[in-house]
Structure formats: structure tokens, C-alpha cells
Symmetry: D3
Subunit: 253 residues, 6 copies
């Protein structure tokens, strides 16, 4: 057994509670990319807020956008409830996420000012589809604007002190992504799978129609990232390298 | 004030003592690249071993190699003594460090098996002169060989369990180096300067002969790395990304 | 002393005057990133134009946007006056710079056609906040459009001959930036500091409120870049690698 | 002679016909970047569709936009006719291509759904001017949206099954581009030259006015790429690395 | 089902037999990194030669080097026999592989000249331990030297015509490796597992002593690489980009 | 015409003569990679020394090593004589260049101390064959050792003041090389071709036996690099980024 495990990590001591804001694109993206980390954070006593920017209304071939939008909102709440996370939808229709959109930034800034995160987890700037990439850029922008007193956003929460660290989670299937930090999610892999399983509109469709076992997909990526860092299951991250977001301590659990 | 500072970091709790092995090329390289981090580790109760591979015998234009070798050995001991570190010289003549050399590897493996480090700090594989680069490669090699039971090394310490994480410290003047982890050395900058000042054969020569204030050089780099991560003084590092050395927790102080 | 300094550099011969256009985001960004280089260019007889795209109206927690906008316009003029540079504001409100905005491009093209720069200095495409990044992209776009005869821009200056070289200046605190060219600004560091000091609304606020000595920040980065290239003070740049902007001679002073 | 040439390649067997969609920015960009590859594909029996997003209306100093637009449309048709390709113009005015524009995406999705490409060739995300870069991003976006059933596009072709592989062709003059795949176009270099020669409004202008022999430019780049892979003439490509576009077989001819 | 599968690939036509030389470091490295690809090549009628440079004599904590060396030679033969591959050991003791060693190069050149490979598969230049990295460098060197008529090597096979393409297989656990080509090994995954299972001295030890299921490790990496390219199981590769080894057709199966 | 050409460049003023040391691997490598630049330097009045480390004795299929070695020494002298360069052979047999070899370093240091170069041109650390790569590493090492007073080398020239800047020339066929500086060699392309033509043992063999027109190869690469920077012919370089070799002025002609 690894002796590095002998003392509780900073986040495990219970001495400090952090607010962690995770912003994904579609209602299931956070569950895929960092569900285990969020579950762990929550179990350690931190306050987790999960935001999905797009409402996922076009994520099905048969179910129409409006009913799908409603189904997915419920699914997202169920997934978040499994770890006691607060779940917020920015309700942007699929394929319409634009980081240049002022309204989106004002919404995001509102959420950031309300949740006052110690750090943010989101998509990396390069991922497999535009909406994901736009979310990443919008979060980068909003997390700065949130600190500007005279920037007017949704809600009336006061501005934040300074831009917070951002961690980029894995891309879909880990394509073109080299993590620099890993989180051991061994004790939370089943929770992660359950969280993903909450998204039945997606899981069922892929299984029945395409013969794809998406939960196995998710488990495999977590297992692979675990192999890389010597744990049964893990998730990989890369920190946003932009001033003044760099840190001298580890914030991931 | 940054709220992230409210609780002691893992290494500050005193619950866990680590062995940290720092391997530099010349007698003053560790002081330049990670002196503040070593001072901090030591202050936090960890056991620090400082190895210089080359004896520094050609680091002067006037003083001859053999007397210089002896002077620098003393200077290195003085620098280490300032933080209570154990200082070891592998006594390779300057400009003769070769990572392909079996004898060097056996010496390094001997030190690693003896000190049983939780992690190692050394030069990055690319730096401003060959001896530095060779040290980096030799450490990478030896830290693996140290775990192989049937590899025979100097001394009779038993083999280590598994290859330990390696952190690459900054290059000289930070050229072509992008840190991914920073260590706040604000409380240790003066100690770092003192450690560097122990190397009078170098400091004095540069000042008298070339008009270079090397202590100011060292301070400036630490201040710059501090600016990058929001601290008065810091040191930058990059982790060696090779299996099975990746970790799921921060080991740097 | 370095023998490379024995003959005057091209720009020092006085035989050739160049137009240099520097485009920063906020009123103080050029002073931070390339103030020494601009001072040097001006001292060597070149014509320097400093453009700030955003008016800096949200750069203070207490002073309201409109009065701040006016204060900063004055400060920018003062800074430019120190080196005899022409200072132009594009007057975009902070947090509203968008490279996709036609009006911004037309303004920038107007400035480029008017100033007819031999080369342009601006932010790199990746920096610490979105407005900076958008300025970089807008300048890249506008400097091409400025050469297209049938592109209609502000003003009535004729189109330029061909896209001019672009140099990207350092990021804030040098994060994630590896310069490929350095400018020795040793003789101009005090002017650079003075130029930065002109931005009292920023300097004073940071000092009184946050205890940050921004002038020291600026000096430290210049000193660090100097260490890297063997000069007391320097600034680092990277050339935009896009056809037909590559050159066979050095244009930086 | 290279023994690897002994058997016909997959695409040469005639057993399988593919639809290849090439999307360039201006009317001559595909001819410059992948004309030889398109000629080869066509000669091998594949169906080639050439799209130019911008109408090229500002590509001349003397001819006015509207007449130039008409001339270039004809030239593009002529170039495509040389290889039996279907040529489509999206008719966006020069310097107005924006990947954020919904109308452009709907047009592109319409074309993709209509042509049902086995793969797409387009500009890389970084090139020498913004319109090129925007085309690359728009194609990336549209090729995903084309597979989303409830995304409404131009025309009434049904949605595609899954995002198709994308190959990025060379930048102009090969600047900052490292190919990972090469296509031998030795037998098609003269066709490529002819295709480029169809764009007389460009060729003639450059020759008469600037003394530039653009056909020689094109030939030189193809010859250089040929030297790199051991063929008289070749074109270089890089695959878009994004899930689920990666393949286990070569699709380029 | 993917329509790209409708026609047999070049290597599946049976019209052309290739010689493929795979050079790994230890007796099980090829099985881990490209066992499925080698099994596929063999099944398609190509001639596969598997070389292990090191004899694996130090790969066990209990079994002594000499008996282990003999056991592993047998295990390697068994693994190769499963796919009808010729297995060659260069018999270098573990932790003694040096690409600078003339004798090693002469041995490798001898094997290359004897097997006359159409292409070579080996470790990438950066991997998790020095012996692997040295093998990669030695193969790069030897595959050039093999083409030099007056270079004297082991054996008396004549020199080869030209340096052959080299494909770098995955690193251990895929750390820091971004594949540019994938091979679908779905039909060969069980063979790959069996090949790995032949190395009982390694598998058993890891299972009994460390509780590590190495076959599951291997399967997981193959499954992950499969997820990335849309197949149940795959292996990832990157081509060596050095003249004159670049190709205009795919050589991997 | 480009207005940047109106004043003479630094090196063209005749006010300053520099010593330039070019170190290639085989007798024709400098001619291929930087022949035009060396010709230009020489024409501008600088002192050029051309060193080939390997004697080229295995560069032919028919001519035996010893006679070839002699022929190539003559050819190298002829090529150098065309531009008035001093030509030195270190006379290492082909395929035997090792940067770890003390004798080689001592020879190189001897040459460096003798020629006292203002800067050095050599191969980049990654190229198409090992000997080239070893030369690059050896030059990097030797150019540092040359400045160490107590390092004993061949000859009795005194040590140099400080490590000089190093420029890496293009790889063969420009594979995997992205230049950051270009030299306009338009006026020297025919001299470059002549220099290459001096190496008749290579040119003739390639033409008669393999049907390769190597002079055309060389011309094409120069033409391509010219296209990239807007000149008829050019050569590309990248500076070695290692302290204290970075400069604040352009040294290439």
C-alpha cells in the first residue's frame, strides 16, 4: 500500500469547506467528465453546483426538442441529487451556445457571483463539438467579468474578489487530452455510473438504437485514467494557465 | 487575503514526514532552482537530502580544479547545513557527467535506495548545458533501477518499492520552461538567498570579475515566478509524466 | 562587454524611419507589455502610434465607468506624450471587445490605413482575459483587411500594400509565453516605469486597496526577461507566423 | 521503384465509391491546397463536391466586387469542370465569413446533408487570414450539426448518421503546418496547375501587376511536399483529432 | 454499421505480403503495445518478426536473472507462436540497453537486413523507462545504417534499399501519447490477451504478489484506444516523422 | 518592392566583421542546409569556417570508404573555396558520431576556441539520421565547454568568453521543422547550387543510379522557404533557446 495515503488530504480534514462550480455543456457532460470528482467533493463536505449551459433539447432522434428539454432537466436534477449538488440550467437550446453572446455571459456571471466558487471545472477549449468549446470560452470570460464591480449581470449578487482557478476536465473519449492532474475516484465510481445512468433519455437511446453501452464507455475512460496514475479509477484534469488563476496548492480533491 | 490559506496544507500538519531527494548537477544548482522549496520542506519537518552529481571543479577561471573541488564541497555543506539537509557529492568532475555511465547510475541508485525518497526533484531533461541534462536523464534512469531487486548498486540498501514521482525544477533564468506547479517560498526567500550566498567561490567571482550580482539574479527569478502565481516569491516545477510516477495528490510543499 | 554592440543596429542608424503601430486592449496594456520597446523606437526616430481598443471604463471598483473612461483617456495621453507617441482610443467599453464585430474591424482598418505601419505590436492570441485575446484576433484580421482595396473602413485613407508583420508582446506576468525575440530596454526602463506610472487610476488603486506595487510588478517582469537574454532589462516578443508576414530581417529595435 | 506500389490502393480498386466534400474559403483555395488530391479522387471514380464559402468579390484591386464575384463564380465552375466536380458557392462576401453566423451554418449543413460526404477536406483552424480560419471552424461545427435530426438547415435532405472525418489541407505557403498524411499527386500535378489557371482573375492580376507567378508558387509547394514523402509531387494533410471522427483506415487517396 | 468497412483494406486483399519487423524492449513489450496489430498482420498473411532487445532477466523479485532469462525466452517464443511470428532475442541484460553501443546496433542491423522489413514498429523515443527509450533510438539508428552498404553488421545479409517507415506504438498506460493512427484489433483482442498471458512469469507475479491483474490492464488500454476511434478494441500509433520514411499510403493493417 | 530593403542591414554595413562557425555532419550537409547563408556571410565580409564532423566515407555504394573519404575531403574543400570559407574535417568515420565521445568534444572545442565564433550554425537536435543529431548535441556541449578555462581541448587556443548563440538549420527536406528566422539567399542561390555541385561523388551517384536530381532537390527547398518569407530563395533557421545564448539583435545575415 502506498504510504502517501496515511494522512488525510486537505479537503478530507473537514477544516475547510469549498464552493466548487462545475459548468458543463449538456445535461450529462459533467457526469461524464468529472462526475466522480464532484461526488468525492460532495462526500468530503464541499458545496457543489452543477450548471449545464445547453438544455440538451436536440439530443435525441425521436423525442422532440421541447419534451426532451423537460425530460433532461429532470434527469439532470436526479443526477445532481445523487450527490446533493445544486443543479442549474442556463437553458440555451442545443447548437446555439456562443461565447460571444452577452446574455450567456451575464447568466454565467450571475451564477458565479451567486455561488462564489473557490474554483471552477469546465470543458477544455478544444473538444469534440462547438457547443462544448464555446462553454469553455464563456466560462473563462465570465469568471473574469464576475470580478469586475461595474459589470452588470443577472441577479444582484456582489462581484467576486478575483478570477478563480479553472480546471479543464477530460475531452470525450480522452481524445487529444493530456492530463496534468488526476483525481482518485475509486470510491466514487459507482456513484459516477449512477449519475450517468440518470440520463436515461441518452443511455436508453444509445443502447436500444445504436447498441452502444454508454455506461461502459464512461467506466472504461475512468479505468484508463486510473491506470495512468495507479488507481482503480480516476479522472484527469488540466489547469487553465492564465494569470492570476495559478495556485500554489492543490484544489482538486 | 486569499482564503485558500486558511487551513494548513497536508505537509504542514506535521502528521506525515516525507523523504525528499533533490539531485542537482553542480554544488549550487539546487540552491538556485529549488532552494526555497527545500528550505520549506525542511522547516515543515521533512527530511531533505541534497545531492550534487558534479563536484564543480571547473567552475572558476583562476582557482584550479582540485582546490576548487574542495572549496565547493565545503560551500555545499554550508548551504545544506542552513536548512539541516544532508548533502552528498557524487564527485564527478565537471563536464564529465554522462547518463550512460554505469558507475554514475550505480552511485545514484545507491543514494536513492539509502534515502528512500517519497519523491525526487532534479533538472528538466532540457537545460542550458549538457551536464544538467545528463543529470536529469541519469536520475530518471536510476530512480527506476533502484526498484529492481537484482540491480546491483553501491551500498547495500535494499531496493525500493516503486519508481517515485519526479519534479523538474526551473531551468537557468527560466528559459523555455513553463511550470505546471508552483511552490510559495515567500517565508523562505532569505534562506534561499543565504544558501546561494554560501557558494562564495561562485558569487564572489561573478561579482568581482563580471560585475554580475548573482544573488539578485536568483531573487529576480523567484520574484517573477511569484508574480505568476500571486505570491511574493515562488519556485516553478513541472512533473515528469511517465508511468507509474503520476500522482493523485500534491507532494510539493 | 558584449562585442555584438560595437556597431549601431539598423534602426539606430537613423537612415530609415519606420511607422510602428502598437495596439493594446486597455489604456495601460501597451505600457506593461512593450512600453520600453516603444520608448526605444521613439528615441531612435521612428513614429510610434499607440492604440487602446477598450476605454478601460470598468477598471476600478469605486470610480464609475464614465468618469473613469475620461480619466483613463487622459492618463493614456500622458503616457504616450512621454515618448512622443500618438495615442488613439477606439473607445470600446470594457468587456465588450469582440473580434467578430464589423464596426471594430472598420475602426482598426481605418487606423492601420492612416498610420501605414511597417509592423504592428499587439497581444498574443492567448492571454489572461478575453478582451486581450479579442484585440489580438481583431488586429490580425484588420491588418489583412486593410490591404483589400474594396474593403470599406473608417476614414478615407487608401488601402495598404500588403499585410504587415505582427509581433506579439508578452502575456501578463509572462504566463505561458515563450519569447523568440528580445528587445534590450535597459536605457528605457525608467521611461517605461514612468509611462506605467501615468496610469494613476490603476497604480494608486492597486497600492492603496490591494497593497500591490504594480510598478514593481512591471519592473520585475522586464528584469526577468533581461536575465533571459543577458541584459539588465528587456521585453520578450513572438512573431505571428502567417503568410505573408514573415520577414528576413529584424524589425524590432 | 518502391515495392509498396505493387498493389492498387483501396480507392484505386474501384470497388468503393466515396463522396468527398471539399470546403474552401475563396474560389481558388481548394485548387491551391488540395487540387491534386481532388483530381485524383475524381479520376479514381469518387464523387467530388467543391464548395467555396466566400464569393471572392474583393480579390482584386481594379475589378469591382459585383463583376468580380460573377467572374470568379465562372472561374470556379471551370476549375471544377476540369475534374468533373460539382461546384457550389455559398456566396458570402469576402471578409464577412463568420463561423458564429447561424445562416452560414445552416447553408453548410444543407450542403453536407445533400452531399453526404464520407469525409471532408477543409482549411486548418489556423491559417493566414481570418476568413480561412472561420471556414475551418464553421465546417467543424456544421459537420456535427448535420447529424442532429432536429437541427433545421437549408434544403430538406435528411440528417447524416455521424460526424465524418475531417482532413485539414495545407496552409498558404505551408507556413506553420506539419502534415501527418501525404497524397501522391504526381499524375495530377498538371491538372492541378490547370485548375489553378482557371482562376485567371487572380493569376493574371498577380502576374501583370505584382510580377508574381502564382502557378509556379503552387507547383513549388507541391514539389516540396513531394520531396518530403519521396514523390515528385504531393499534398500534405493533417486529420482533425476529435471524437468520433478518428478512423482506423486511410481515406485519402 | 460503418460503410467504410464494405471493401477489404489493402492488406486484406492478400495480393501483397509484407514483412513487418516489431522491435520491443523486454520480452512482453510488443504483446502489450501492439500484440493485436501483429496478430492481425499475421492473420492477413504478412510475415511478422518479433524482436526483444533485452532478455528480461531482472523482471522478477524472487527468480534469479539467469533462470528468469531462460524462462522469459520460452515465454516469448510461446507468445510469438500463437500468431506464427518469428521471435528473436538480442539477449541484452535488463537495464543495460544503450543506443550508443556499437554491438547492439550491429545486431539490430543484422536482423533488419535479414528480415528486410517493409516497415518497423517500436517504442516511441519517450517512454516510462530508459531501456525502452534506448530501444527506440537504436532502432531509428539501425534502420538507417542497415541501408549503408559499407556498414558491417552481424550476419551477411545484403544492405537494404532505403530507410523504412517506423511506427511508434503506445507508451505504457498511454501516458503522454497522442496516437495519429489507430488499428482496429477487435477480432484479435483475445489473441492479444493470450499472447500477454504467455508471459506467466510476469502475469503470475503481479497477480500473486501485487494483486495487479495485468491482462485486465492490457485489455483496458485497448478498449480505451477503441473508444477513441469507434471500435471495440484498438491500438494507437504515431509515425516517425523523418525523411525519407514518410509515406503516401497506410501501411498499418 | 519592399521598403524594408532601403537601408543596409547591420551585417551589410561593413562596419563589423563576424566569425561564423558552421558545423555540419557530412561533407555536404552545410551546403544543403545553409550554403546560401554562408555564401552571403562571406560576400558581406564575414569570416566563415565550415566544419564537417564525419568524413563521409560510407556515402557511396560502390566506392570504398578510404578512397571515398579522400574524394569527399577534396570535394568539401572545393565547395568551401567557392565562398572563401575555411574548411575543416574532424574525420570521424560515418555512422560513428557520438556526442558522448570525449575525443570528439575536445576536437570541437579546439575548433571553437581557434575560430572564436560570434555564433554557430549546426543541425537541429532532431533530424533524419543519428549522426546529424549527435553533431547537434556535440556542438551544444562543446560550445559551452569551450568557455571553461580548465577544460583541456585540442590545440592551445585560449578559452572563449561565453557560450555563443546557436542557430539550427533546416532538416533534410524540411521535415518537422518550423523556422523562426529566414535568410534571403536570392543573390546566392546559384553559388549554393555550385557548392552542392562540388560534391560530385554524391550528385553523380544519385543521378546515375537512382535518377534523383539532388541539385533540384536543394533548389526546391530553398524556393519553398523563399515562398514562406516572400523572397525568391531563402533558408530557414531556428535559434537554440538556452541561456545565455539568447540575443537582442539579429545575427543572421
Amino acid at each position: 500500500m502506498n504510504k502517501f495515503g496515511r494522512v488525510p488530504k486537505r479537503q478530507e480534514t473537514g477544516e475547510m469547506m469549498m464552493n466548487v462550480l462545475a459548468v458543463g455543456c449538456h445535461p450529462d457532460d459533467l457526469e461524464i467528465g468529472c462526475g466522480g470528482t464532484l461526488a468525492k467533493l460532495s462526500a468530503l463536505g464541499h458545496r457543489v453546483t452543477m450548471v449545464h449551459v445547453a438544455n440538451g433539447d436536440k439530443g435525441h432522434a425521436v423525442i422532440k426538442p421541447e419534451p426532451l428539454r423537460q425530460m433532461r432537466a429532470v434527469e439532470a436534477q436526479e443526477a445532481g441529487a445523487l450527490i446533493g449538488a445544486n443543479v442549474i440550467s442556463l437553458d440555451i437550446p442545443d447548437l446555439s451556445v456562443k461565447s460571444d453572446n452577452d446574455e450567456l455571459i451575464r447568466k454565467l456571471v450571475g451564477v458565479i457571483r451567486q455561488t462564489r466558487p473557490d474554483y471552477i471545472i469546465t470543458h477544455p477549449p478544444e473538444d469534440y463539438m462547438k457547443d462544448h468549446m464555446e462553454v469553455s470560452k464563456a466560462v473563462f470570460d465570465a469568471s473574469f467579468s464576475a470580478t469586475v464591480p461595474h459589470f452588470e449581470a443577472e441577479g444582484n449578487a456582489p462581484h467576486c474578489d478575483k478570477p478563480m482557478p479553472i480546471y479543464y476536465m477530460d475531452t470525450l473519449a480522452g481524445v487529444a487530452f493530456l492530463p496534468t492532474e488526476y483525481v482518485d475516484i475509486t470510491d466514487y465510481i459507482e456513484t459516477k455510473i449512477q449519475m450517468n445512468n440518470s440520463h436515461q433519455s441518452q443511455i436508453k437511446w444509445l443502447r436500444d438504437h445504436d447498441g452502444i453501452d454508454f455506461l461502459d464507455f464512461v467506466r472504461t475512460v475512468s479505468k484508463f485514467r486510473g491506470l495512468q496514475c495507479g488507481k482503480p479509477y480516476a479522472e484527469g484534469f488540466r489547469q487553465c494557465t492564465a494569470w492570476p488563476r495559478l495556485t500554489t496548492e492543490r484544489l482538486l480533491p
